[in-house]
Symmetry: C2
Subunit: 342 residues, 2 copies
Amino acid sequence: MRIALDAMGGDNAPAEIVAGAIEALDFLAADDKIILVGPQAVVEQNIPSSARSNPKLQIVDAPEVIAMDEPPIESLRQKIKSSINVIAKLAKRGEADAVISAGNTGACVAAFQMRMRNIEGVNRPGIAVVFPTFGGAVTVCDVGANIACKPINLYQYAVMAQLYSANVLGVAKPRVGLLSIGAEDAKGNEVVKKARDMIKADPSINLVGNVEGRDIFKGVCDVVVCDGFVGNVVLKLAEGLVDGLFKAIKTELMAEKITLALKFKPVMMRIYQKYDYHEYGGAPLLGVNGTAIICHGSSKARTIKNAINASKKFYSAKINDKIAEYLSKSSIGISNDQEQGS
Amino acid sequence: MRIALDAMGGDNAPAEIVAGAIEALDFLAADDKIILVGPQAVVEQNIPSSARSNPKLQIVDAPEVIAMDEPPIESLRQKIKSSINVIAKLAKRGEADAVISAGNTGACVAAFQMRMRNIEGVNRPGIAVVFPTFGGAVTVCDVGANIACKPINLYQYAVMAQLYSANVLGVAKPRVGLLSIGAEDAKGNEVVKKARDMIKADPSINLVGNVEGRDIFKGVCDVVVCDGFVGNVVLKLAEGLVDGLFKAIKTELMAEKITLALKFKPVMMRIYQKYDYHEYGGAPLLGVNGTAIICHGSSKARTIKNAINASKKFYSAKINDKIAEYLSKSSIGISNDQEQGS
């Protein structure tokens, strides 16, 4: 398997990204390859001498870099030779089986969708993030690829995320929840209500109904489906809140007694590890015709190593074939394409 | 001041609601009155004998009750004599200066808006919740009154919430953030982008720009403006996450050492108190022509007591006059009413 890795993506690029690739060399199969994509000299500099001649590492030059805060579409157009554009092209030409980037999320989504195209039957791809919650691993889709969802998009997110949960995370018959503002069927905006009707009409989806913000961390479902705007707010809110709460606890403990703070530290570390998103490595962009993993902007070497592992799992589970097969048999949304299609 | 209190609203009604009213008697002024609204006999039963003849307590009979999960509009129509309908009518007829309910939020919003009407110039009211964050008190509007916001609604939420933050919470020149999915101006859906242009065009609003989910708890702004669907998800997510995290910490500490768990308990209690939404008592429905406070469904006596206090503050601060005056001078959204008005 050939994995194209954007060496310039994220706040800690290129050092941590390249370091993650080096760490991953340990578990790669004999015929696996990591293609590091970025400005040749910069990438080379970051590879330790002991790994420079490793046959599993390859460099493809991409002299341009798209910054984290650049407007996605314009920067993709202007920077043809940017690392994000180049990894997407490698996938398009069949020269890479997977792409991974911790760079500008909007640019990644646009580049992967444009070059790799969607899986037959998929209207819009969605980013699926796995939340390590107190009630188990919960897959939330979409968290930012599509901020103007139509009902058919939400239906397809349910389909794709449940297949991901079942085949990659090993969840048997994943319970699907639709994020809304109340448990009752009548609750939600028009898009959510129409999406619920579509999901309900598909007997292969194990829909538990609407779920609320508070349910995400309670283990009431394995998959949460939502619009990318809402999902993105949820993702960042959860990060910020957990971070802030730990800081508040630390401050209080320090004020109480420094020895108590020290005793609490290992407990805090254990919780951090248990619920750490770095463990999952990255989020697949479900619906594109290939294996595309988008990582957190703050990714460290460990995150990238785990993302490489995640891309191998995703690829070997043949999720995309399963999505295509599922949607080819589903009649949901077909009759009403004019209104509901994207 | 006459405060009409829905004695039947919320999961702990009527006992905790009436108990909250009794607790509030201590700080009421000589000419203040609490009008307890609910089935006469039920309400009477819940008043302790020592308070039965208190001239500051009055009962108005409302034999019907709207349950927490009933569809709002239908139940309001069918249950004319429900406590929510009756408190709204008391306000409409000028027989109450404030209404408070911990009942069905949708029914409260609909009843208050229908009977009390909007402040001149306001298109849609919004619920403003105060989050006690690590960076200070943050007012988030809307958290569920309006789940299909137009740009003009978001602009008006910015106007109303900043006036609330300044005049009730005492924040000098509140910093306003617009909830979106990235800090850059280009980020956000169409409604958010148009709303940002409108808010930017008003030099009296201290706009800090877009804020992300993670910023809500970081103290980057005093007011967060968002659509009611997103705001409701945020509100419930924060509750569920904090709850879950404390449980996870407790479990880890118990597994480590029970004495450590016991030592941690007072710290946990202190944090709970500091960031406890019960302290704020309830959320004002900004934009209706009167003082309307909506409380959490899980309200306890303390929450209700604090909500009664909050209604007094809101009323005496004359926020509604300030909102009407502000909007009468603002030209934002006027030229384009056809498209942007509600």
